[in-house]
């Protein structure tokens, strides 16, 4: 099976690229994250949420 065919499944083929490691500990979209944190501080998680794990 070719990568192109495998990539049609819901779970995609992901190639590991070590050059992306430099982004891992950086906040790339700070404004968006700040807004999300502000929103989540008041709204939290759904009340009917399932327990994770």
């Amino acid at each position: 099976m070719k990568v192109k065919d495998l990539n049609k499944s819901k779970l995609p083929v992901v190639r590991i690229d070590n050059s992306l490691e430099k982004y891992k500990d950086k906040v790339l979209f700070k404004d968006k994250l700040d807004k999300a944190n502000q929103m989540l501080k008041t709204i939290g998680l759904p009340k009917s949420r399932k327990q994770s794990g």
């Binding site: 049609k8 790339l28 998680l45 009340k47 949420r49 399932k50 994770s52």
Partner: protein, 148 residues
Amino acid sequence: MKLERYELKAEKSLMVFEFVSEGPKGQIPKLVQFGETNLKDLYNLAFGDKDISTGEISDSVVSNNSDSDKVLATVVATVYAFTDRHPGVWVYATGSTMSRTRLYRMGLTKYLQEIMEDFDLYGQKKGEWELFEKGVEYEAFLVQRKND
């Protein structure tokens, strides 16, 4: 989701992904990040363009590369990959503008049946979470992968 999508690259923890949009405006590298929020096990999904010349990343640029369906399908694929690697987490997403949020809602609505097979999906409305429904304007979205 049977939509065509771009090939993905990521760092080892699958929290940062990169793909390249291709269209009339040329090749535009895009980064997707699942950022840790102040809530445990809840990550903020954000993506934007990487400027090759400056290295800067922006989620406010409008690429107009005529491939928004393919881009969204690719971002959805990163959610599958991320939640497969990090089971039990929640993913929060909203657009950088109201029109982008609406675009995401339309994308979610279009493939709602398939999404609901794999995720619990919520929409934020007036400061509350509710189960996502078609035709309702939401300010943000929250998903959690269902247990297999």
